[in-house]
């Protein structure tokens, strides 16, 4: 589903991502972990087509993001670490805007909006301007928007930050469900326990370089993911 080959992105003279390669198959949830400033957001933004990268290749479902970004983005949903949505819209208008862009018909969008806003207990706030939402409410709205067009690949940057426990649980269920239907998920997190329980694969990035990548069992062996991560952080390996 997602194939990243030799991705390199520099800011000035600093290499934010250095020759990173990984693959995620349909049905897989891949966790992306690393210290602050390791290059997680840069990688996710490059895959989402927001950032232009210097070298490498990214394909989603066989479509190259540089060659056909529009077709590629139709298969993707991206949730950033800080949900800066359009404050001037109401929640409903925002969801309609997203649905319009992805060409979701009225019947389907109404059904999905009703279902997901009900699940996330956001129905009552849907006609309020987004500027009045809390961080958690914006995060919920961003999740609902991401699920509007049943994407094949969902990219999420710290998706659980700001969500209440019930919403976080719900999101995990939705992640499983979309993978069971053939989708894939690539998300960054600092909550290693969540990554350990949720992910089929894990990628550990340090100073822009991928230092561990594989199935959860391959990466952590008999240790906990936290132990492996802390050990890798302490070593000079990168």
């Amino acid at each position: 589903m997602l194939k990243i080959e030799h991705l390199t992105k520099t800011y000035g003279e600093k290499k934010a991502v250095d020759d990173l390669s990984l693959q995620i198959a349909p049905g897989e949830i891949c966790g992306f972990i690393g210290h602050n400033g390791a290059g997680k957001t840069t990688t996710l933004k490059s895959v989402a087509g927001i950032l232009q990268f210097d070298a490498g290749e990214i394909t989603v479902g066989g479509i190259n993001i540089m060659q056909d970004p529009i077709a590629c983005k139709r298969e993707i949903a991206y949730i950033p670490d800080n949900p800066d949505l359009y404050d001037f819209m109401t929640g409903r208008k925002y969801l309609d805007f997203i649905a319009d862009i992805f060409g979701v018909d009225m019947e389907t969008r109404n059904a999905r909006i009703a279902e997901y806003t009900g699940l996330f207990e956001l129905t009552a706030a849907l006609e309020q301007p987004i500027s009045s939402y809390s961080h958690g409410m914006k995060q919920k709205l961003a999740v609902i928007a991401a699920w509007m067009h049943t994407p094949r690949l969902i990219l999420m940057d710290e998706p659980f930050v700001g969500l209440d426990p019930k919403a976080a649980h719900l999101l995990k269920e939705m992640m499983h469900r979309i993978c069971q239907e053939g989708g894939a998920i690539f998300f960054s997190t600092h909550v290693l326990e969540v990554a350990e329980k949720l992910c089929d694969k894990v990628a550990i990035i340090k100073s822009g370089k991928l230092i561990r990548y594989g199935t959860m069992d391959e990466v952590k062996g008999d240790d906990s993911l936290e132990e492996v991560f802390l050990e890798l952080e302490d070593t000079k390996e990168c």
């Binding site: 989402a48 927001i50 590629c72 139709r74 800080n82 359009y86 819209m89 805007f97 301007p129």
Partner: protein
């Protein structure tokens, strides 16, 4: 603490002078100096020169008649009016709507310190405006009548009094606007309506001011006596400039007391207003029946329109033509024959000048439709959103362009048709009265978007920065003025030799060529520019 906050406040106001918005890098000292010099030229040479000329006109007559106080009073009132006009909405948005309010309020900083720092910015803006009026007036007075110690203290005191009056009125009005807006539904439209009423009143006074001034100069002694006996407060304010120390002391005492009262009022409600969420917006029943499915271009255009109508600042600063052009069209229908008759009388020897000057005026009025200029910067922190969606960069830019074409084009066509109805000319000339402003709309939609892209700044804490203080807005506004002046001026200079039809055809062709070049630039380089933000 206060010093740090004021420094931050000043840096925000003048950030564009120290930092290149495009690259985010600090400007060189030479570059910063040039920027400040340009600013000084605009303030001193243009505005200051205008008030200096007025001062020369009034100073001789009033001061020779022993009415020095009336001279200073007139300029004090002008300074106060300009200051309040310039800063009342800045007070509201700068004080209560700043995006870093939450951040500052979360820090161990007393609320009053945050308020003081913000109000320091308001005071400086008021001081700048009032000084623009008073300094030329004082200069002219000193030139003709010299200066004594008492007068020098009085004149400086007058600047302080006027700037404090500005601050008092701006704070009071800004606080009033904030209190009202807390209870309002459809805040943006109500704010726009109130602002436009204010602007209309301002211009009504402005256009009649010359008649009033001439009347005042002719009957200066009578009016002076009336004010001295009937409005002693005004007399005392004017006397400050003439060196009345007692009046200065009284005025300063009263102003300090008045400011203290307003300060207490504002401090009492600051937290409540600054931290209020937007839940007073119109509540509708939840339901999907009012929503329709749209195509991608439609959805993007609706999004841009939503951004425009959601912000009173955006509408007021970038969309006044939407009202001015239709209003002028109606004015033309009612009084057009008389106005155009006067133009014929004045410029009669230049055949076809009525038609060309009318198109130039319509182009001038279009200068206040420049919503494309800040549109890119206004994406701000939500820039990621459109970039992550399956829309091409050109579609994003087209939506921004379309908004200006639509909101600028429809009023321009309406006004052009009104002009064509009253214009005593041939059918071809009438056609140009519609086509030239339309060409201007198209050209400046492209110009505005291009300069907006080249000077895009996504990092702002108050939307006033992209809307009012970004250089792209100045280029958009003054560029269109220059265009209009060039269209009218070039015809009066040499263009009349070839007649209005061929001249306007050449203008239209040049505008179309310019539009085509810029359109192509936007499609190619502009999209790259947007993607690299």
């Amino acid at each position: 603490m206060l010093k740090v906050l004021i420094k931050k406040q000043l840096y925000e106001i003048f950030r564009g002078y120290f930092t290149n918005a495009k690259t985010g890098k600090a400007r060189s000292k030479a570059n910063t100096t040039v920027m400040f010099l340009l600013f000084a030229v605009v303030m001193v040479a243009l505005l200051g020169g205008m008030f200096g000329a007025l001062a020369v006109f009034l100073c001789g007559t009033l001061c020779k008649a022993g009415l020095d106080w009336l001279y200073f009073l007139l300029f004090s009132l002008l300074g106060a009016a300009l200051g309040v006009f310039g800063s009342v909405f800045n007070t509201y948005s700068g004080l209560y709507l700043a995006k870093d309010n939450d951040l500052l309020l979360s820090m161990p900083i007393p609320v009053k310190t945050v308020m003081t720092a913000r109000l320091a910015g308001v005071y400086l803006m008021g001081l700048m405006y009032s000084a623009t009026v008073l300094v030329p007036a004082i200069g002219v007075y000193i030139f003709f009548f010299g200066v004594t110690v008492a007068r020098a203290v009085g004149m400086l005191g007058l600047i302080v009094v006027v700037s404090l009056t500005d601050m008092f009125l701006s704070c009071l009005l800004g606080w009033g606007v904030a209190k009202i807006s807390l209870r309002l539904k459809n805040k943006s439209f109500v704010t726009v309506a109130a602002s436009i009423t204010f602007i209309v009143l301002y211009y009504l006074v402005y256009f009649r001011a010359m008649n009033w001034l001439q009347d005042l100069v002719s009957n200066a002694e009578m009016y002076g006596e009336k004010i001295r006996t009937g409005a002693r407060v005004l007399w005392k304010i004017g006397s400050i400039g003439a060196g009345d120390m007692a009046a200065l002391a009284i005025c300063l005492t009263v102003l300090v007391a008045a400011l203290t009262v307003v300060w207490r009022l504002m401090a009492h409600s600051f937290m409540k207003i600054a931290t209020a969420s937007a839940t007073t917006e119109k509540r509708k029943k939840t339901g999907a029946k009012q929503f329709k499915q749209h195509t991608v271009p439609q959805a993007l255009l609706i999004k841009e329109l939503g951004r425009f109508t959601a912000s009173a600042n955006y509408m007021l600063n970038c969309g006044l033509s939407l009202l001015l052009l239709p209003a002028f069209g109606i004015f033309l229908l009612v009084k057009g024959e008389y106005v155009l008759g006067v133009v014929v009388q004045v410029f009669g020897e230049r055949s076809g000048s009525t038609c060309v000057l009318l198109t130039a005026v319509l182009c001038m009025l279009n200068s206040m439709a420049d919503m494309a200029a800040p549109a890119v910067s206004l994406e701000g922190k939500s820039y990621w959103l459109l970039r992550s969606l399956p829309v091409s960069t050109w579609e994003i830019l087209t939506a921004k362009l379309s908004l200006q074409l639509l909101l600028g084009g429809v009023p321009a066509v309406f006004c052009g048709i009104c002009g064509a109805i009253v214009l005593p000319g041939t059918v071809v000339e009438k056609l140009f009265v519609v086509l030239i402003p339309l060409g201007c709309v198209a050209l400046f939609a492209c110009v505005d978007l291009a300069v907006g892209l080249k000077n895009a700044n996504l990092n702002w804490t108050n939307e006033l920065y992209p809307i009012k203080q970004n250089v792209s807005i100045a280029i958009a506004l003054f560029g269109c003025w220059l265009y209009a002046i060039a269209v009218g001026g070039a015809y009066m200079w040499v263009g009349w030799n070839i007649g209005p039809v061929w001249y306007l055809l050449a203008v239209l062709a040049l505008s179309a060529a310019g539009t085509a070049v810029l359109y192509r630039w936007l499609m190619n380089r502009g999209t790259v520019c947007y993607e690299k933000l």
